[in-house]
Symmetry: D2
Subunit: 140 residues, 4 copies
């Protein structure tokens, strides 16, 4: 099926709606019910020792599922996260970007569920897993 | 029982170990297996519309349980978050700090579990709830 | 405020709607946005060694929040669980019933959130914690 | 790599260690860090209306990750579930068995993490997703 928003449209949305953090993330790829999102790791994302912080990984998982949803339904900025469970499994590699491999498991009229595996670029085993639920505002 | 770290010791630890974000948080109170931690809300924590972002609430819940653990066991910086589940229940009040009311439900030798209710200061109903698990490094 | 269903009404509902498991649970107390529910532990709930199984604790947490919701809104059998996170923290005592201390953190028109601490009767520390989300069917 | 337990060994373990519920589950397949487990749906697993209950789905997810772990490390019965997050996404098909497609995301010395997609046999979209954490007892 045709996506409602492609990579360029998602980048434009991020920069317009989230001016403070939009540049932190890039859309690597997007397809039917799936997306891969990059966290461009910067000093502000790091903990002492050079590892990416938990809140930065949470933020990546959150935006990754959000963008995968918007790619399917279009730019509904009022879509909000209602819940997340996340497991931190390994220490991220120092100095490497993170990649969030994301799939939508449910995309209903009012509720969406997605899950994410987060990888340090170049590492084979995932550093974190997360699942997230979103509330989608009713169509007018 | 006597705490291993009091409010001043926790503040010093935060500023020393987390120079980038330590000033974002204040310890309101700490007691046996419990703490209340404040997020000093700043522009960087906000989403468009002036509401506190999900990642900022996650960061508050994470640091709140971490500090409640350290108050009991002392400054073991290697204590790491292994998992979190969080539910976002209401929109935070605009322009208000957040307060995380935290209790430890389990503090074992190698594993701790805590939960958190997050409030917008001055609002009666909680804006989010979270539960977190931590791995505690073995004593030497 | 007046409850929509009291202890007797909740018991009747359980036995009528859940004939297979209704007798496993008793309502100890119910009040505004809170309830305490008992699992009458029987052989079928036990694991080898005599400890209550994880699925039995999940079932208790699930029914406890469900009953706390129905006490507030009345017998809407179509209310369904949409998610749960649960942490198993200690081994339940052998041969003791379980008690689920439940509070509702949010009761919106279409979504409810509750959390639960599960205790072995007579033990001070909780054996498990859980948080659950429910979808409430629209009023006709 | 060679598995520590194959399908027959896992079935024998289930029947020996979990006499009350072992017959409810079958191992469809097992491989390196992955397994597919079937819930042989019976009356006791059903809610009014003929749909499989939430606790039965939780039990399936729990046993599925447990068996995937044991296939890798051998019959360590003391391996225990420490946490689970589960999302119920669709109503299971009436009268169909459930299949849990399971993968291990981490298998450390003391901690394992797995996730599960649960399907009604013959339905394309998953009815539930779950992630679980386990504590593995130290080797003697």
């Amino acid at each position: 099926m045709a996506l409602a928003m492609d990579t360029d449209a998602l980048h434009g949305f991020l920069e317009r709606e989230f001016p403070q953090v939009g540049q932190d993330f890039s859309v690597e790829s997007v397809s039917d019910m799936a997306a891969t999102i990059r966290l461009n790791v910067q000093d502000k994302h790091l903990r002492p020792g050079g590892t990416v912080s938990g809140p930065a990984m949470f933020a990546l998982a959150d935006v990754a599922v959000y963008l995968a949803i918007l790619a399917m339904i279009g730019p509904k900025a009022l879509t909000v996260t209602t819940g997340c469970s996340i497991d931190f499994m390994r220490k991220p590699a120092s100095g490497a970007d993170l990649l969030a491999e994301t799939r939508l498991l449910k995309l209903g009229r009012s509720l969406a569920v997605g899950d994410v595996l987060i990888y340090s670029e170049g590492m084979e085993a995932p550093v974190a897993r997360a699942s997230l639920t979103y509330s989608i505002p009713p169509a007018r």
